[in-house]
Subunit: 208 residues, 2 copies
DNA sequence: TCGCTTGTAGGGTAATAACCCTACAGACAG
DNA sequence: CTGTCTGTAGGGTTATTACCCTACAAGCGA
Protein backbone atom coordinates (compact mmCIF):
# COMPACT_ATOMS: atom_id res chain seq x y z
CA UNK A 1 0.00 0.00 0.00
CA UNK A 2 1.43 3.33 -1.06
CA UNK A 3 1.04 6.19 1.40
CA UNK A 4 0.28 9.53 -0.24
CA UNK A 5 0.33 13.20 0.53
CA UNK A 6 -1.68 15.53 -1.69
CA UNK A 7 -1.10 19.24 -1.97
CA UNK A 8 -2.91 21.72 -4.15
CA UNK A 9 -4.26 25.15 -3.41
CA UNK A 10 -7.38 24.55 -5.49
CA UNK A 11 -9.84 23.03 -3.04
CA UNK A 12 -12.19 21.69 -5.68
CA UNK A 13 -9.35 20.00 -7.47
CA UNK A 14 -8.07 18.53 -4.23
CA UNK A 15 -11.50 17.24 -3.33
CA UNK A 16 -11.94 15.68 -6.74
CA UNK A 17 -8.50 14.14 -6.70
CA UNK A 18 -9.19 12.69 -3.29
CA UNK A 19 -12.27 10.92 -4.63
CA UNK A 20 -10.31 9.50 -7.50
CA UNK A 21 -7.52 8.25 -5.27
CA UNK A 22 -9.93 6.89 -2.67
CA UNK A 23 -11.31 4.64 -5.35
CA UNK A 24 -7.83 3.42 -6.19
CA UNK A 25 -6.91 0.49 -3.99
CA UNK A 26 -3.12 0.73 -4.39
CA UNK A 27 -2.76 3.87 -2.33
CA UNK A 28 -3.91 5.50 0.86
CA UNK A 29 -4.00 9.23 1.44
CA UNK A 30 -2.29 10.06 4.71
CA UNK A 31 -2.26 13.86 4.51
CA UNK A 32 -3.46 16.82 2.48
CA UNK A 33 -2.30 20.40 2.26
CA UNK A 34 -3.56 23.59 0.66
CA UNK A 35 -0.23 25.34 0.33
CA UNK A 36 3.41 24.51 -0.15
CA UNK A 37 4.64 25.18 3.33
CA UNK A 38 1.93 23.09 4.93
CA UNK A 39 2.75 20.32 2.47
CA UNK A 40 6.41 20.45 3.38
CA UNK A 41 5.68 20.25 7.08
CA UNK A 42 3.35 17.31 6.59
CA UNK A 43 5.91 15.51 4.47
CA UNK A 44 8.43 15.78 7.28
CA UNK A 45 5.91 14.57 9.81
CA UNK A 46 4.30 11.72 7.86
CA UNK A 47 7.12 10.73 5.52
CA UNK A 48 4.69 9.48 2.86
CA UNK A 49 5.93 7.24 0.07
CA UNK A 50 4.79 9.74 -2.51
CA UNK A 51 3.89 13.43 -2.37
CA UNK A 52 1.65 14.62 -5.19
CA UNK A 53 2.06 18.37 -5.27
CA UNK A 54 1.04 21.24 -7.48
CA UNK A 55 3.88 23.39 -8.77
CA UNK A 56 2.12 26.69 -8.37
CA UNK A 57 1.19 27.00 -4.73
CA UNK A 58 1.26 29.80 -2.16
CA UNK A 59 4.29 30.08 0.11
CA UNK A 60 6.32 27.30 -1.47
CA UNK A 61 6.29 25.76 -4.91
CA UNK A 62 6.24 22.06 -5.65
CA UNK A 63 9.71 22.40 -7.09
CA UNK A 64 11.03 23.95 -3.91
CA UNK A 65 9.49 21.09 -1.94
CA UNK A 66 11.29 18.59 -4.13
CA UNK A 67 14.52 20.46 -3.51
CA UNK A 68 14.01 20.34 0.25
CA UNK A 69 13.11 16.67 0.17
CA UNK A 70 16.34 15.93 -1.60
CA UNK A 71 18.36 18.27 0.59
CA UNK A 72 17.21 16.43 3.71
CA UNK A 73 17.56 13.07 2.07
CA UNK A 74 13.97 12.01 2.71
CA UNK A 75 12.71 8.88 1.04
CA UNK A 76 9.50 10.55 -0.11
CA UNK A 77 9.21 10.70 -3.90
CA UNK A 78 7.75 13.89 -5.28
CA UNK A 79 5.31 13.90 -8.19
CA UNK A 80 4.43 17.34 -9.45
CA UNK A 81 1.10 18.03 -11.04
CA UNK A 82 0.98 21.07 -13.22
CA UNK A 83 -1.16 22.75 -15.78
CA UNK A 84 1.66 24.08 -17.85
CA UNK A 85 3.27 22.03 -20.49
CA UNK A 86 6.31 24.25 -20.21
CA UNK A 87 9.65 22.71 -21.07
CA UNK A 88 11.54 25.29 -19.01
CA UNK A 89 9.57 24.34 -15.90
CA UNK A 90 9.99 20.66 -16.58
CA UNK A 91 13.75 21.12 -16.81
CA UNK A 92 13.72 23.04 -13.56
CA UNK A 93 11.71 20.27 -11.94
CA UNK A 94 14.06 17.64 -13.18
CA UNK A 95 17.03 19.47 -11.74
CA UNK A 96 15.29 19.77 -8.37
CA UNK A 97 14.94 16.06 -8.01
CA UNK A 98 11.29 15.68 -8.91
CA UNK A 99 10.50 12.02 -9.55
CA UNK A 100 7.31 12.44 -11.55
CA UNK A 101 5.89 15.16 -13.74
CA UNK A 102 2.22 14.90 -14.71
CA UNK A 103 0.01 17.43 -16.44
CA UNK A 104 -3.43 18.28 -15.19
CA UNK A 105 -4.74 17.60 -18.63
CA UNK A 106 -3.44 14.09 -18.48
CA UNK A 107 -5.94 11.54 -17.22
CA UNK A 108 -6.07 10.09 -13.73
CA UNK A 109 -4.73 6.84 -15.14
CA UNK A 110 -1.61 8.69 -16.14
CA UNK A 111 -1.23 9.95 -12.60
CA UNK A 112 -1.72 6.56 -10.96
CA UNK A 113 0.80 5.11 -13.37
CA UNK A 114 3.25 7.84 -12.44
CA UNK A 115 2.78 7.10 -8.75
CA UNK A 116 3.45 3.40 -9.23
CA UNK A 117 6.44 4.17 -11.38
CA UNK A 118 8.09 6.47 -8.86
CA UNK A 119 7.62 4.14 -5.88
CA UNK A 120 9.39 1.48 -7.90
CA UNK A 121 12.32 3.87 -8.04
CA UNK A 122 12.13 5.17 -11.57
CA UNK A 123 11.12 8.52 -12.87
CA UNK A 124 7.98 9.34 -14.77
CA UNK A 125 7.30 12.18 -17.12
CA UNK A 126 4.05 12.76 -18.94
CA UNK A 127 4.55 11.82 -22.60
CA UNK A 128 3.33 15.20 -23.81
CA UNK A 129 5.95 16.96 -21.73
CA UNK A 130 8.87 14.71 -22.48
CA UNK A 131 8.24 15.14 -26.17
CA UNK A 132 8.33 18.92 -25.85
CA UNK A 133 11.26 18.76 -23.49
CA UNK A 134 13.22 16.83 -26.04
CA UNK A 135 12.45 19.33 -28.78
CA UNK A 136 13.29 22.11 -26.36
CA UNK A 137 16.71 20.72 -25.58
CA UNK A 138 17.49 20.25 -29.24
CA UNK A 139 16.35 23.69 -30.25
CA UNK A 140 19.20 25.26 -28.29
CA UNK A 141 16.69 25.85 -25.55
CA UNK A 142 18.70 24.00 -22.97
CA UNK A 143 19.75 27.22 -21.39
CA UNK A 144 20.46 27.68 -17.74
CA UNK A 145 19.87 31.03 -16.19
CA UNK A 146 22.13 31.92 -13.32
CA UNK A 147 20.52 32.77 -9.96
CA UNK A 148 21.29 36.43 -10.47
CA UNK A 149 19.78 36.36 -13.93
CA UNK A 150 16.62 34.78 -12.58
CA UNK A 151 16.45 37.47 -9.96
CA UNK A 152 16.81 40.23 -12.51
CA UNK A 153 14.30 38.58 -14.81
CA UNK A 154 11.80 38.42 -12.00
CA UNK A 155 12.19 42.11 -11.33
CA UNK A 156 11.97 43.03 -15.00
CA UNK A 157 8.77 41.03 -15.24
CA UNK A 158 7.45 42.80 -12.17
CA UNK A 159 7.53 45.96 -14.19
CA UNK A 160 10.62 47.62 -12.76
CA UNK A 161 12.94 49.70 -14.90
CA UNK A 162 16.68 49.10 -14.98
CA UNK A 163 17.19 52.00 -12.65
CA UNK A 164 14.68 50.64 -10.15
CA UNK A 165 16.18 47.18 -10.34
CA UNK A 166 19.62 48.66 -9.80
CA UNK A 167 18.37 50.36 -6.65
CA UNK A 168 16.64 47.19 -5.44
CA UNK A 169 19.71 45.01 -5.88
CA UNK A 170 22.17 47.73 -5.02
CA UNK A 171 24.15 47.42 -8.22
CA UNK A 172 24.76 49.76 -11.14
CA UNK A 173 22.07 50.19 -13.81
CA UNK A 174 24.75 49.21 -16.27
CA UNK A 175 25.07 45.84 -14.61
CA UNK A 176 21.34 45.39 -14.82
CA UNK A 177 21.68 46.15 -18.50
CA UNK A 178 24.32 43.48 -18.86
CA UNK A 179 22.11 40.93 -17.14
CA UNK A 180 19.20 41.94 -19.35
CA UNK A 181 21.34 41.52 -22.45
CA UNK A 182 22.54 38.13 -21.36
CA UNK A 183 19.00 37.04 -20.61
CA UNK A 184 17.88 38.15 -24.02
CA UNK A 185 20.82 36.44 -25.69
CA UNK A 186 20.25 33.18 -23.84
CA UNK A 187 16.53 33.11 -24.41
CA UNK A 188 16.68 34.55 -27.90
CA UNK A 189 14.27 37.32 -26.98
CA UNK A 190 14.65 40.93 -27.98
CA UNK A 191 12.49 43.19 -25.85
CA UNK A 192 11.24 43.60 -22.32
CA UNK A 193 7.81 42.65 -23.57
CA UNK A 194 9.07 39.26 -24.67
CA UNK A 195 11.03 38.80 -21.46
CA UNK A 196 7.99 39.59 -19.34
CA UNK A 197 5.84 37.25 -21.32
CA UNK A 198 8.41 34.51 -21.04
CA UNK A 199 8.72 35.05 -17.30
CA UNK A 200 5.01 35.06 -16.63
CA UNK A 201 4.30 32.10 -18.84
CA UNK A 202 7.04 29.96 -17.39
CA UNK A 203 5.83 30.87 -13.94
CA UNK A 204 8.79 32.92 -12.83
CA UNK A 205 6.64 35.36 -10.95
CA UNK A 206 4.35 33.19 -8.92
CA UNK A 207 6.25 29.98 -8.60
CA UNK A 208 9.71 30.66 -7.45
CA UNK B 1 -32.97 17.12 -11.19
CA UNK B 2 -30.52 19.57 -12.70
CA UNK B 3 -28.89 18.58 -15.97
CA UNK B 4 -25.26 19.55 -16.26
CA UNK B 5 -22.57 19.98 -18.84
CA UNK B 6 -18.94 20.04 -17.67
CA UNK B 7 -16.10 21.47 -19.66
CA UNK B 8 -12.47 21.70 -18.69
CA UNK B 9 -9.32 20.95 -20.60
CA UNK B 10 -7.65 19.39 -17.58
CA UNK B 11 -8.65 15.75 -17.73
CA UNK B 12 -7.72 14.97 -14.14
CA UNK B 13 -9.74 17.88 -12.90
CA UNK B 14 -12.69 16.87 -15.04
CA UNK B 15 -12.50 13.30 -13.79
CA UNK B 16 -12.35 14.43 -10.18
CA UNK B 17 -15.18 16.87 -10.62
CA UNK B 18 -17.26 14.16 -12.20
CA UNK B 19 -16.81 12.00 -9.12
CA UNK B 20 -17.85 14.83 -6.87
CA UNK B 21 -20.94 15.62 -8.89
CA UNK B 22 -21.89 11.96 -9.28
CA UNK B 23 -22.14 11.79 -5.53
CA UNK B 24 -24.39 14.83 -5.49
CA UNK B 25 -28.02 13.77 -5.91
CA UNK B 26 -29.37 17.11 -7.11
CA UNK B 27 -27.73 16.98 -10.50
CA UNK B 28 -27.02 14.66 -13.41
CA UNK B 29 -24.14 15.11 -15.83
CA UNK B 30 -25.41 14.92 -19.38
CA UNK B 31 -22.28 15.87 -21.27
CA UNK B 32 -18.60 16.63 -20.89
CA UNK B 33 -16.12 18.47 -23.06
CA UNK B 34 -12.38 18.99 -23.11
CA UNK B 35 -12.35 22.25 -25.02
CA UNK B 36 -14.53 25.30 -25.51
CA UNK B 37 -15.77 24.56 -28.95
CA UNK B 38 -16.82 21.04 -28.08
CA UNK B 39 -18.56 22.44 -25.02
CA UNK B 40 -20.45 24.98 -27.09
CA UNK B 41 -21.62 22.32 -29.55
CA UNK B 42 -22.76 20.05 -26.74
CA UNK B 43 -24.62 22.90 -25.07
CA UNK B 44 -26.57 23.49 -28.27
CA UNK B 45 -27.34 19.81 -28.64
CA UNK B 46 -28.19 18.94 -25.04
CA UNK B 47 -29.46 22.26 -23.74
CA UNK B 48 -28.40 21.46 -20.16
CA UNK B 49 -29.80 23.49 -17.29
CA UNK B 50 -26.31 24.50 -16.25
CA UNK B 51 -22.95 24.49 -18.02
CA UNK B 52 -19.95 24.45 -15.71
CA UNK B 53 -17.05 25.64 -17.83
CA UNK B 54 -13.44 26.61 -17.32
CA UNK B 55 -12.51 30.08 -18.50
CA UNK B 56 -9.19 29.18 -19.98
CA UNK B 57 -9.82 26.51 -22.57
CA UNK B 58 -8.50 25.77 -26.02
CA UNK B 59 -10.46 27.07 -29.01
CA UNK B 60 -13.09 28.98 -27.07
CA UNK B 61 -13.09 30.49 -23.60
CA UNK B 62 -15.81 30.04 -21.02
CA UNK B 63 -16.59 33.71 -21.35
CA UNK B 64 -17.08 33.40 -25.08
CA UNK B 65 -19.40 30.47 -24.49
CA UNK B 66 -21.48 32.59 -22.13
CA UNK B 67 -21.66 35.29 -24.77
CA UNK B 68 -22.86 32.80 -27.38
CA UNK B 69 -25.41 31.32 -25.03
CA UNK B 70 -26.86 34.74 -24.43
CA UNK B 71 -26.67 35.72 -28.10
CA UNK B 72 -28.76 32.70 -29.07
CA UNK B 73 -31.08 33.13 -26.14
CA UNK B 74 -30.52 29.65 -24.77
CA UNK B 75 -31.90 28.85 -21.34
CA UNK B 76 -28.66 27.21 -20.21
CA UNK B 77 -27.03 29.04 -17.32
CA UNK B 78 -23.28 29.30 -17.45
CA UNK B 79 -21.11 28.88 -14.35
CA UNK B 80 -17.46 29.60 -14.94
CA UNK B 81 -14.81 27.90 -12.91
CA UNK B 82 -11.49 29.61 -12.84
CA UNK B 83 -8.22 29.63 -11.03
CA UNK B 84 -7.66 33.30 -11.18
CA UNK B 85 -9.12 35.60 -8.66
CA UNK B 86 -8.79 38.39 -11.18
CA UNK B 87 -11.27 41.25 -10.87
CA UNK B 88 -10.79 42.24 -14.50
CA UNK B 89 -11.74 38.76 -15.64
CA UNK B 90 -14.72 38.68 -13.29
CA UNK B 91 -15.97 41.96 -14.73
CA UNK B 92 -15.55 40.61 -18.22
CA UNK B 93 -17.47 37.49 -17.24
CA UNK B 94 -20.25 39.51 -15.71
CA UNK B 95 -20.62 41.54 -18.88
CA UNK B 96 -20.80 38.39 -20.98
CA UNK B 97 -23.80 37.10 -19.10
CA UNK B 98 -22.12 34.55 -16.91
CA UNK B 99 -24.51 33.44 -14.16
CA UNK B 100 -22.01 32.01 -11.72
CA UNK B 101 -18.35 32.61 -11.00
CA UNK B 102 -16.55 30.10 -8.81
CA UNK B 103 -12.85 29.77 -8.07
CA UNK B 104 -11.04 26.48 -8.24
CA UNK B 105 -9.76 27.12 -4.77
CA UNK B 106 -13.27 27.34 -3.44
CA UNK B 107 -14.66 24.07 -2.13
CA UNK B 108 -17.02 21.77 -3.96
CA UNK B 109 -19.79 22.90 -1.62
CA UNK B 110 -19.35 26.40 -2.99
CA UNK B 111 -19.78 25.07 -6.51
CA UNK B 112 -22.90 23.07 -5.75
CA UNK B 113 -24.37 26.09 -4.03
CA UNK B 114 -23.59 28.17 -7.11
CA UNK B 115 -25.30 25.65 -9.34
CA UNK B 116 -28.45 25.63 -7.23
CA UNK B 117 -28.42 29.40 -7.10
CA UNK B 118 -28.20 29.90 -10.84
CA UNK B 119 -30.95 27.40 -11.68
CA UNK B 120 -33.19 29.35 -9.37
CA UNK B 121 -32.54 32.34 -11.61
CA UNK B 122 -30.12 34.36 -9.53
CA UNK B 123 -26.46 34.95 -9.98
CA UNK B 124 -23.68 33.60 -7.84
CA UNK B 125 -20.21 34.93 -7.35
CA UNK B 126 -17.61 33.40 -5.10
CA UNK B 127 -17.28 35.55 -1.98
CA UNK B 128 -13.53 35.97 -2.43
CA UNK B 129 -14.04 37.36 -5.91
CA UNK B 130 -16.94 39.65 -5.17
CA UNK B 131 -14.97 41.20 -2.36
CA UNK B 132 -12.08 41.96 -4.69
CA UNK B 133 -14.37 43.03 -7.44
CA UNK B 134 -15.92 45.56 -5.17
CA UNK B 135 -12.54 46.95 -4.17
CA UNK B 136 -11.56 46.95 -7.80
CA UNK B 137 -14.56 49.00 -8.85
CA UNK B 138 -13.98 51.48 -6.08
CA UNK B 139 -10.30 51.82 -6.82
CA UNK B 140 -11.13 53.41 -10.17
CA UNK B 141 -10.48 50.03 -11.66
CA UNK B 142 -13.84 49.83 -13.37
CA UNK B 143 -12.25 50.61 -16.68
CA UNK B 144 -13.43 49.46 -20.03
CA UNK B 145 -10.93 49.00 -22.77
CA UNK B 146 -12.17 49.67 -26.27
CA UNK B 147 -11.89 46.86 -28.83
CA UNK B 148 -9.04 48.65 -30.52
CA UNK B 149 -7.24 49.10 -27.24
CA UNK B 150 -7.59 45.41 -26.46
CA UNK B 151 -6.20 44.62 -29.86
CA UNK B 152 -3.19 46.86 -29.33
CA UNK B 153 -2.66 45.51 -25.84
CA UNK B 154 -2.63 42.00 -27.15
CA UNK B 155 0.03 42.87 -29.70
CA UNK B 156 2.13 44.73 -27.16
CA UNK B 157 1.99 41.71 -24.91
CA UNK B 158 3.00 39.50 -27.79
CA UNK B 159 6.26 41.36 -27.81
CA UNK B 160 5.79 43.61 -30.81
CA UNK B 161 7.21 47.13 -30.89
CA UNK B 162 5.11 50.15 -31.74
CA UNK B 163 6.48 50.11 -35.24
CA UNK B 164 5.62 46.46 -35.73
CA UNK B 165 2.13 46.96 -34.35
CA UNK B 166 1.65 49.91 -36.66
CA UNK B 167 2.56 47.72 -39.61
CA UNK B 168 0.31 44.90 -38.42
CA UNK B 169 -2.73 47.14 -37.99
CA UNK B 170 -1.84 49.42 -40.88
CA UNK B 171 -1.92 52.60 -38.81
CA UNK B 172 0.72 55.13 -37.83
CA UNK B 173 3.17 54.32 -35.05
CA UNK B 174 1.99 57.54 -33.47
CA UNK B 175 -1.51 56.15 -33.20
CA UNK B 176 -0.14 53.04 -31.58
CA UNK B 177 1.59 55.33 -29.13
CA UNK B 178 -1.67 57.07 -28.35
CA UNK B 179 -3.39 53.74 -27.72
CA UNK B 180 -0.50 52.67 -25.52
CA UNK B 181 -0.74 55.89 -23.54
CA UNK B 182 -4.48 55.54 -23.09
CA UNK B 183 -4.07 51.95 -21.98
CA UNK B 184 -1.48 52.99 -19.44
CA UNK B 185 -3.63 55.84 -18.22
CA UNK B 186 -6.71 53.65 -17.88
CA UNK B 187 -4.93 50.83 -16.15
CA UNK B 188 -2.60 53.02 -14.16
CA UNK B 189 0.45 51.25 -15.49
CA UNK B 190 3.62 52.92 -16.65
CA UNK B 191 5.69 50.62 -18.78
CA UNK B 192 5.41 47.92 -21.38
CA UNK B 193 6.57 45.48 -18.77
CA UNK B 194 3.56 46.25 -16.60
CA UNK B 195 1.22 46.16 -19.58
CA UNK B 196 2.51 42.78 -20.65
CA UNK B 197 2.20 41.42 -17.16
CA UNK B 198 -1.32 42.74 -16.86
CA UNK B 199 -2.26 41.26 -20.21
CA UNK B 200 -0.83 37.86 -19.49
CA UNK B 201 -2.24 37.68 -15.99
CA UNK B 202 -5.72 38.69 -16.97
CA UNK B 203 -5.55 36.19 -19.76
CA UNK B 204 -5.56 38.55 -22.70
CA UNK B 205 -3.24 36.34 -24.64
CA UNK B 206 -4.64 32.90 -24.16
CA UNK B 207 -8.27 33.48 -23.32
CA UNK B 208 -9.75 35.96 -25.69
C1' DT C 1 -27.36 69.70 -29.07
C1' DC C 2 -23.59 69.08 -25.83
C1' DG C 3 -20.32 66.48 -23.89
C1' DC C 4 -17.68 62.14 -23.74
C1' DT C 5 -15.17 58.39 -25.80
C1' DT C 6 -12.89 56.43 -29.70
C1' DG C 7 -9.72 56.08 -33.44
C1' DT C 8 -6.89 58.45 -36.03
C1' DA C 9 -2.32 61.38 -36.37
C1' DG C 10 0.90 64.72 -35.60
C1' DG C 11 4.97 67.87 -32.91
C1' DG C 12 7.79 67.91 -29.24
C1' DT C 13 11.34 66.24 -25.29
C1' DA C 14 13.40 63.26 -21.95
C1' DA C 15 14.14 58.78 -20.29
C1' DT C 16 14.97 54.10 -21.13
C1' DA C 17 16.12 50.15 -23.65
C1' DA C 18 18.77 47.75 -27.06
C1' DC C 19 22.88 46.78 -28.97
C1' DC C 20 27.87 47.49 -29.76
C1' DC C 21 32.24 47.13 -27.22
C1' DT C 22 35.87 46.32 -23.12
C1' DA C 23 37.39 44.76 -18.51
C1' DC C 24 38.35 42.03 -14.45
C1' DA C 25 37.97 38.97 -10.30
C1' DG C 26 36.23 34.72 -8.60
C1' DA C 27 34.26 30.21 -9.24
C1' DC C 28 34.18 25.92 -11.28
C1' DA C 29 35.12 22.13 -14.71
C1' DG C 30 37.94 19.72 -17.60
C1' DC D 1 46.01 25.57 -15.06
C1' DT D 2 43.33 27.01 -18.75
C1' DG D 3 39.11 28.06 -20.46
C1' DT D 4 34.17 29.21 -19.66
C1' DC D 5 30.63 31.32 -16.98
C1' DT D 6 29.17 34.68 -13.65
C1' DG D 7 28.72 39.12 -11.59
C1' DT D 8 30.29 43.34 -11.65
C1' DA D 9 30.81 48.05 -14.34
C1' DG D 10 32.03 51.16 -17.66
C1' DG D 11 32.08 53.80 -22.72
C1' DG D 12 29.60 54.37 -26.68
C1' DT D 13 25.27 54.80 -30.36
C1' DT D 14 20.73 54.36 -31.91
C1' DA D 15 15.94 52.86 -31.37
C1' DT D 16 12.08 52.92 -28.67
C1' DT D 17 9.30 54.32 -25.07
C1' DA D 18 7.14 57.58 -22.01
C1' DC D 19 5.13 61.68 -21.40
C1' DC D 20 3.92 66.39 -22.78
C1' DC D 21 0.77 68.71 -26.04
C1' DT D 22 -2.91 69.53 -30.11
C1' DA D 23 -6.43 68.12 -33.54
C1' DC D 24 -10.54 66.32 -35.73
C1' DA D 25 -14.37 63.29 -37.46
C1' DA D 26 -17.47 59.76 -35.96
C1' DG D 27 -20.43 57.79 -32.78
C1' DC D 28 -23.24 57.60 -28.78
C1' DG D 29 -25.85 58.84 -24.78
C1' DA D 30 -28.10 62.38 -21.79
Amino acid sequence: MISLLLADDHAIFLQGLTRLLDAWPEARIVAMAADGQEAWELIQRHKPDVAVVDIRMPKMSGIEIAGQVRALGLSTRVVVLTMHDEPALALEAERSGVAGYVLKDDTFEELSQAIEKVVSGSRYMSPAVSKNLHAFRLSSGGVTLSPREREVLKLIASGLSSKAIARALDISPKTVGTHRSRLMAKLDLHSVAELVRYAVETGFLSDK
